[in-house]
């Protein structure tokens, strides 16, 4: 019962259904109920994390027939990688919702219903061990997110929501075709249809077919990550979404893309991924994302947009580590995904808190916040440092691993990525300086510092950021087996050679 | 029927094809609704001709039976069609195709 992933997966959705029955005339009850459900969900997930056994692969397995004639199953389970992302998803989701306690004042019930459904959908992506189930959750999560952006977003919300959904669906339909190619190749080799990931991993398509599958899946996932030329939906969607939507988008939904790469692409078409030209393209695109994202951040005047673009840069690091195709790079990429969820989630929440107070996102409107809001400035500093990748916080551990991996693959890549790190430090420090230091203008003088509820929101983030930064070993222990699993597909001889 | 046999089969088919093409051309290029409708009747009659010719050549009645059905259907279509043309005329006082075009983007 306590380990039942199906229950924990559908708990938020169930809470959302019950929420529809509550009277919308009692906003506090609605808020309380939604946060209670999300809180229970987060706590439950964390107990699951505690019981997770890092010495085994898939755990807490739930396997039921779903569409037998297509070979699709209702197959849930977690390994170290998905467990970390799932725990991050539940926790960040709850905290983002708690942070938005006062942010939404219109159509409150509908807001929380969308949010609860969204939580179930995104959790499903990380829990599914069946590729079709993965895809269904992957797509289904777009619908509540569309409504979150289009109803409760900023000025340009409808345009941003349309852009978001059209872009991502264009990609994911191609992903579907790629997935079908792999699935059909598996049928051709074995004579039975199956969407379960272990079955698809055994397929190993080669040659042209491998390239087709790779590029189709790439198109779908690259939009989601987003990789450099496909990122144009992101700044609009992230900026226009309400705070909680931005947090979900940045912390959780971007990870679906990298998660897809590590679950479907690397182990799915290992022969193709190894090809030199494919690796070249991937690393170049990742480096472009890193450097370009950081450069764009430097000239942003909009605080929220700056953080949105910083995601492009950070996700570039994850892609670079992954395509280093060595344990350091891949484990760094996996950990960095969690780190990015924590640091960027916190940054978006902090911007959201300021937006509630001042109703502007212009960096120039702020300045000197250290005077009236010392606690906020302190938390913002930690979040920024965590995002920059400086010791002793979590970002450092992940980026170091990624750079090690990249270095092992190619020195110039690592140098370019190093430039990215420098730029990241530059734009975040500059932003920090503009927001918190200097003269405090009259408009900002009377601002209240963090309240008790806000402290409750940011504190878990700080603990996680410092915890992972100081003592990352448990996380790496959890990632060891998933990384090894991928390495055995991609470079079966790697461990033998290095010993 | 020696007289009929004197004319080769292909001639019937060519005549039918010409009539059919005339019908299509009339359908495409005429602008009066009634004329357009008559062009369609011409197409159907071209079809009837080829059915009868084939039927005769194959020494079967199937084709001729088909022709009867086509005639019946054409009559039914004409009845409904003229009724529709009448309502269009009542609503618009015109029978030119170009002027009946309120349904556009």
């Amino acid at each position: 019962m306590a380990d039942n992933l199906t229950l924990i997966l559908f708990l938020p959705m169930l809470g959302g259904l019950i929420l529809t029955l509550l009277p919308s005339s009692k906003p506090v009850l609605v808020k309380f109920w939604a946060n209670l459900v999300l809180g229970c969900n987060a706590l439950w997930t964390l107990t699951l994390l505690g019981r997770f056994d890092a010495t085994h692969d898939l755990q807490f397995i739930q396997r039921l027939p779903w569409i037998p004639s297509l070979g699709a199953e209702f197959f849930l389970g977690v390994d170290g990688y998905s467990m970390l992302l799932f725990a991050m998803t539940s926790a960040v989701g709850f905290l983002a919702s708690l942070a938005s306690w006062n942010a939404i004042d219109t159509r409150l019930k509908e807001f929380y219903v969308s949010l609860l459904i969204l939580q179930s959908c995104v959790a499903g992506v990380f829990l599914a061990v069946d590729a079709l189930l993965f895809f269904v959750f992957f797509e289904a999560s777009l619908i509540p997110m569309f409504f979150l952006i289009a109803i409760w977003g900023g000025e340009q919300r409808r345009m941003a929501a349309m852009k978001f959904i059209v872009y991502t669906v264009a990609g994911s339909m191609l992903l579907l075709v790629g997935l079908l190619l792999l699935y059909f190749e598996h049928w051709r080799q074995t004579g039975f249809f199956s969407f379960s990931l272990p079955a698809l991993w055994a397929t190993k398509p080669e040659g042209d077919l491998g390239l087709w599958i790779f590029w189709l899946m790439f198109a779908g996932l690259a939009v989601k990550v987003p990789m450099a030329p496909f990122h144009t939906w992101l700044p609009d969607a992230h900026t226009e979404a309400p705070t909680v939507g931005s947090v979900y988008l940045a912390s959780i939904m971007l990870k679906m893309g990298t998660y897809g790469f590590l679950r479907l692409v690397l182990p799915g078409v290992p022969e193709t991924v190894k090809q030199a030209n494919v690796l070249w393209w991937m690393s170049v695109l990742a480096l472009i994302a890193i450097v370009y994202g950081a450069l764009v951040c430097l000239k942003q005047k909009d605080w929220k947009r700056l953080i949105a673009y910083s995601s492009v840069s950070h996700m570039g690091f994850c892609m670079l580590g992954m395509f280093s195709l060595n344990p350091a790079g891949i484990s760094g990429s996996m950990l960095q995904q969690v780190n990015h969820g924590i640091s960027t989630g916190l940054l978006f929440i902090l911007v959201g808190l300021m937006y509630e107070r001042r109703h502007t996102r212009e960096i120039s409107e702020y300045g000197g916040l250290f005077g009236p809001m010392p606690a906020f400035s302190f938390v913002f500093l930690i979040a920024a440092v965590s995002s920059m990748g400086l010791p002793p916080l979590n970002g450092f551990v992940g980026e170091l691993r990624i750079l090690t991996g990249a270095f092992e693959m190619s020195v110039p890549w690592a140098l370019w990525a190093g430039l990215g790190v420098v730029l990241t430090v530059a734009y975040l420090l500059w932003c920090y300086q503009r927001v918190t230091l200097g003269e405090t203008s009259a408009k900002n003088l009377g601002l209240a510092d963090l309240s008790g509820r806000e402290w409750a929101v940011v504190l878990p983030f700080l603990i996680a950021a410092i915890g992972i930064g100081v003592y990352p070993q448990p996380a790496f222990d959890m990632l060891e087996r998933p990384v090894k699993q991928i390495m055995e597909k991609v470079r079966p001889n790697y461990y033998a050679q290095s010993n | 029927m020696p007289q009929l046999n004197a004319v080769p089969m292909s001639w019937y088919l060519i005549l039918s094809a010409i009539l059919f093409t005339l019908g299509v051309a009339g359908f495409l290029f005429r602008r009066n609704i009634i004329t357009v409708f008559m062009s369609i009747e011409l197409m159907l009659n071209a079809v009837n001709l080829s059915f009868v010719a084939f039927s005769h050549q194959l020494r079967q009645v199937d084709g001729q039976i088909f022709t009867f059905f086509v005639m019946v259907v054409a009559a039914a279509e004409a009845a409904v069609g003229l009724a529709i043309i009448l309502t269009v005329f009542k609503n618009r006082q015109t029978l030119s195709i170009d002027e009946v075009s309120s349904l556009k983007n």
């Binding site: 569409i67 339909m173 079908l180 | 059919f20």
Partner: protein, 467 residues
């Protein structure tokens, strides 16, 4: 033998009989007509269900074949007819045209579709086609005093009759080549023919073109947006689904039967029509300001998807077509009927619907998501099967194009959803809702979702229909 003959057309006979009787009835309200119609459909459905015990039997010397394929298509048409009629009566009352003929013509069209779905002989299917078409001409122009309705009927009539002429010309050549009007005989006579033979092309080209007209596939689609827009909205729902399904049944029976071995002769044309329909339907829908016209163009796009199953040409492809048609019928009847409740049809008339009528808006959102093909709706399962069949046939580029058009279609479907999220206008469109409408639209929406969550029953149904 005699029993067998009558039994093979029993559903059509019942439908035609009740349809004719309906023309003679006069009541004060439309409810008795509806009950009468539902009773006839029920009887026909029972007849159809009884036919499952007589699979493989033929009636009238092979003119009618009782097989799972025909039963499946007839079931689609019956469902569409019933849903449209049940959802329509308040609309017809509002337009002040609630005459018994409306329901009678629905039944008559249905009996014609039965012959199209089950006929395996040229004369039979031609008669079925024309019974259907003539009934639909009248239904389209049913709002006599509305110039748009009669104009739509005129366009549909002229182009429909023209396409019948084309089809007949092809039939006559086919008859001349094979000496028979029965599919089985035609198949055996054509088996030795070369597919490049000009006479074969002269037969196949007009037949395929005529049928593409009937299913409203590009480049022969131009009647569809006009006819769909001008027709009374419930008739549009019926026309866009049942008549299209019957057209597909006729096309499939011909192409998979007598013309199967001549694949090179029609393959190119079908592929072209599929891609062109996807392109025309999806791109033209983007700019429409009338929701009805938008849905009309989107239905052309859907025809493109369905035809892709034939482009793939394998067993999965045909199964996918059947599945797609069923799902398409559900969601399209639902969407058009929902539209029929609004007294205006512009895309902007949906403005604020989510806040004024959240239930109705949610149903529409569900149907639109299904039309767009997003999981977890039935529309996704249908598109999934089409993509799978293309992948199996190694038509990767076609699959990529089809996948990208999903994103295009998403844009215009979400335009409607986006309007719903705006704050309401000063003069919002008003809704006319009846119990029947609620049942009909609710059923389609629930099935669109339910069959997406658990598609196994429909997959099994499609497979069994092609045994």
């Amino acid at each position: 033998m005699q029993f067998n003959n009558l039994f093979s057309i029993l559903p059509a006979a019942v439908l035609a009989l009740f349809g004719c009787v309906l023309l003679l009835l006069r009541f004060d309200s439309s409810r008795p007509y509806l009950i009468f119609l539902a009773f006839a459909e029920l009887l026909a459905a029972i007849g159809l269900w009884r036919q499952t015990d007589f699979l493989g039997f033929t009636g009238f010397r092979g003119a009618i074949l009782i097989d799972p394929f025909g039963i499946a298509f007839n079931a689609i048409c019956l469902v569409a007819g019933l849903i449209c009629a049940v959802g329509a009566y308040r609309y017809m009352e509002r337009e002040d045209e609630d005459h018994p003929e409306f329901y009678g013509l629905i039944l008559l069209a249905q009996s014609g579709m039965y012959l199209m779905n089950s006929g395996t002989e040229l004369i039979t299917v031609f008669i079925g086609l024309e019974i259907t078409a003539v009934s639909f001409y009248s239904l389209t122009g049913f709002l006599r005093s509305n110039p748009r309705s009669s104009e739509a009927a005129l366009k549909y009539l002229l182009l429909g009759a023209f396409s019948s002429g084309l089809l007949l010309y092809g039939f006559s050549i086919l008859y001349g080549l094979s000496g028979s009007t029965h599919y089985l005989n035609i198949a055996s006579m054509l088996a030795t023919r070369n597919s490049r033979d000009p006479l074969i092309l002269m037969a196949i080209l007009p037949i395929v073109l005529g049928l593409l007209f009937k299913i409203a596939a590009a480049p022969l689609h131009m009647w569809a947006p006009d006819a769909y827009e001008g027709a009374p909205t419930p008739v549009t729902a019926y026309l866009a689904t049942a008549s299209k399904a019957a057209g597909f049944a006729l096309l499939l029976r011909l192409i998979l039967g007598p013309l199967h071995d001549l694949r090179p002769a029609w393959e190119g044309l079908i592929t072209f029509a599929a891609i062109a329909s996807l392109t025309v339907g999806n791109l033209a829908a983007i700019t429409q300001s009338s929701t009805k016209r938008l849905l009309a163009y989107s239905s052309i796009g859907h025809v493109g998807y369905i035809l892709l199953g034939l482009v793939a040409g394998n067993k999965t492809g045909i199964e996918a077509m059947l599945l797609y048609l069923l799902v398409y019928t559900l969601m399209t009847t639902g969407a058009f009927l929902l539209l029929s409740a609004l007294d205006r049809e512009g895309v902007t008339d949906f403005r604020g619907l989510l806040y004024r009528h959240p239930g109705v808006a949610l149903l529409m959102i569900l149907l639109l998501l299904s039309l767009a093909g997003l999981p977890p709706t039935a529309g996704f399962v249908a598109k999934y099967m089409i993509f799978l069949s293309l992948v199996q046939a190694r038509q990767y580029w076609v699959a990529v194009i089809a996948a990208l058009y999903v994103a295009v279609s998403l844009y215009y479907y979400f335009r409607i959803i986006r309007e719903m999220l705006h704050n309401p206008d000063d003069s919002p469109a008003t809704l006319t809702i009846s119990t029947g409408w609620r049942a009909a639209v609710g059923l389609t929406a629930i099935l669109s979702l339910g069959l997406g969550l658990n598609p196994e029953p429909v997959l099994a149904w499609a497979r069994s229909a092609l045994r």
